[in-house]
Symmetry: C2
Subunit: 152 residues, 2 copies
């Protein structure tokens, strides 16, 4: 179960989900471009990574593709460390919108990890627009694929 | 005159100042590491750039040094474009604190530019801590040096 919550005080989306994987393995599914491309995004889309350097000070760019449709996303990795990823994120169709995403990998023991994501943007309007955009459905699809990958 | 304002609704610091320079020249003082090191920070400190790649997807790291004291700052450049810089910013002494800084270079004509900076952090506590930290005095020193550089 993925828990998605709009912060009541700040333009933040909180997303929480537990996975049957150790933190290092779940982190790798977020930093290895081949693994990442296999799970991210809606089931109906394919991911094509154009640039990927998942290290502190690196950056990324990928396309979400369905037939002739293509949507580009890019950002930079502020910091990559075993318990936390901090990165920026922009959808190229809205180039002025920048999210600061922080992902915490909390070891629950017994080979389980709680992934907590905080997506901070610059206004409540932007935040609520993201929530209305269908981003949540795509994220749920993605996390189901990630869960299957971690269960293998 | 530098105008510094704590946003009433969001954990944001707004900083506004006009310079006698065209946007491209003022931008260069933010992207060229030699120029940047000459003006940033308090008058009592020297800046030593350790890493610098001011392009979309690049990153930076610099030290602020006074005698034996040394403070490190780092981040990544989310996007560098003629009218706007978007970058992350962390003081290494507080590695969990990440600011998302956006700088707009607004052409006022007659060789003048309004620089508007928005510094977005994840809580009001963090924001108010930055305002109390003496960051404003260092920034005022820095902007005076930048102004002198632009007047030359």
């Amino acid at each position: 179960m993925t828990h998605v919550e709009a912060d009541p005080r700040l333009p933040i989306i909180w997303i929480t989900r537990e996975f049957r994987a150790r933190p290092a393995r779940l982190l790798r599914a977020h930093t290895d471009p081949d693994l990442f491309a296999q799970w991210v995004g809606p089931d109906s889309m394919q991911t094509r990574v154009e640039h990927w350097e998942a290290r502190t000070g690196g950056s990324f760019r990928y396309l979400s593709v369905r037939g002739d449709e293509s949507y580009a996303f890019y950002g930079c990795f502020h910091e990559v460390r075993p318990d936390r990823l901090a990165q920026t994120f922009t959808y190229e169709g809205d180039p002025d919108g920048v999210a600061l995403n922080t992902l915490w990998f909390e070891d629950l023991g017994d080979g389980r990890t709680r992934l907590r994501t905080r997506s901070l943007v610059d206004s409540f309007e932007t935040r609520d627009g993201w929530l209305r955009s269908g981003m949540e459905a795509g994220m749920q699809d993605g996390y189901r694929k990630l869960e299957r990958m971690m269960d293998e």
